[in-house]
Point group: C2
Chain length 343, copies 2
Amino acid sequence: MAAQWAKTVRALADGREIRYYDSELRERSATDTRDLAPVESRSHTTLDALTGEWITHATHRQTRTFLPSTDLCPLCPSVSGRATEIPEPDYEVVVFDNRFSAFAGGPGHCDVVCFTSAHDTTFAALGLARARMVVDVWADRTADLTARDGVAQVFCFENHGEEIGVTLSHPHGQIYAYPFITPRAEKILVSADRHRRETGRDLFEDVLARERDDENRIVATNDEWLAFVPVAARWPFEVQLFPRRRVADIPDLDDSQRDGFADLYLDMLQRFAALFDESMPYIAAWNQAPATHRDAWWLHMQLFSIRRAPGKLKYLAGSESAMGAFINDTDPAAVAAQLRAAR
Amino acid sequence: MAAQWAKTVRALADGREIRYYDSELRERSATDTRDLAPVESRSHTTLDALTGEWITHATHRQTRTFLPSTDLCPLCPSVSGRATEIPEPDYEVVVFDNRFSAFAGGPGHCDVVCFTSAHDTTFAALGLARARMVVDVWADRTADLTARDGVAQVFCFENHGEEIGVTLSHPHGQIYAYPFITPRAEKILVSADRHRRETGRDLFEDVLARERDDENRIVATNDEWLAFVPVAARWPFEVQLFPRRRVADIPDLDDSQRDGFADLYLDMLQRFAALFDESMPYIAAWNQAPATHRDAWWLHMQLFSIRRAPGKLKYLAGSESAMGAFINDTDPAAVAAQLRAAR
């Protein structure tokens, strides 16, 4: 199906933008009645000379909202007498500038993406039409942010679950527009460059061919997408989703690919949720092309959990947190089999 | 003071080695009476072709001991009727092969280092003589492991606190002998090589000169060591300890440097513990030279905590865990001031 939605851009009380995405044109004229202090901007990025990585210091975030009770949720629609981040009394999907941006005052940018106005649900339960609409919203925001001066890479993601520190349970994701190429993307670009020099071939093509050929680790597929546990999975439960036809980023996905993603992604989230009789925290991370390296990239999503077994979480301790060396207690093929059997 | 200790090597019931380090020669002849199944070896390392990093899969570790009650602690000395990992009825410092090695069956190796037989204490409370002895033990084990075929880098570290997933509260650390150069070390080597090419100078010298000159971020020093919050700190509370005189690894430290380290490190741990009225989890991570790059290295320790404030932990969510881009909510100079005022 082709994208069909209307976008209305409004301002919040402190000048931040909010964008309403609606499946049909709606009047979105509610005013933010809150008395908000201007957004503070005290973040800056510093090069870690030893590792060559950029570190962002954003000290104003220490005071950000932390696990509010449901009736104080800032991501629910506003009701009479209680104004939230969304002035309207209802919404479908909204994206607003994060008040606690990691990149305040610099060329970077942080969005909050609310997937639904319903507080007590999850992405896995959104349904196909809404999930498909979220893909369009990611595409729209990515295109907008990529065009800004100083933005090097746009990262759409969802952190899900208190176990990984999510402070608001309302179904939402985030978008970071980094003023630098992220360390993961840098490493991939270096690998791809070396692979090209050494073999004359494209790294992504070779990696995907290898993953596609090992049926033991494939979880599910459709006409447009593959979902597999990578041979070098670093998380206890990890799936990567790749489009069969190469694109650089979400805006490049055509309608058929967007439909296919929504379908397979919901399937994966539902499998994750069905694995254990307890909550399954996860991180869903879009790997989009850095702005300067579109031709070298292949869009993909990493979906992974730190839950390694019922009652047990994977912690990043010395080996991972200090040295970056991941020790994974699960076997990729066994995880794929567990996920195929889940639901 | 010069190193003075005796080492006795014995075998555990399943063939693993245990090494007793004693400040004076002691008879260490107790036999491991347990009926232990042979150690399983099912780990292997896989190259993540996209990132160029080695991932270790160690599936046998899923069953490892998880938060036992104090009277079942496997790191306490054995008592009549209850045999632990240490057959002797007392010890000073012991190092034994980890039954749940991340590198079982390969060229890598995992040690467990018990700092004291006392269950209810911490490294911060060991006292100077014992801390100094632990430095010698790290040096002895590093020299032994570095000499083994296939070992690329030896990593001495301590994970401290349930908040980061420590499953045994008895004061202990670990040593990993990696069969590959860790991602952090790889990145540093790449940076150092580029710095040499671009400037003709040594990266470590330049970094250390810059850190030494910014008094705002120095926490404490002595004749041999500096402890500072790095300008690009990625953790809420992070200190790096560098020897003033360059060495490649712990075995290279002379007596004066070892004394100086024990003194300053205890001071840092005590400052960490005094910061808040609640437990301070930490990771202490020795960055030693990869075996093949001794001349390019400068030994240092990273000491950091994921506690960012009372009641609040830093979680590694999408930006850090997926993209490797660290967002730190604290200001390095402010952290240094807090640490200088602590104790």
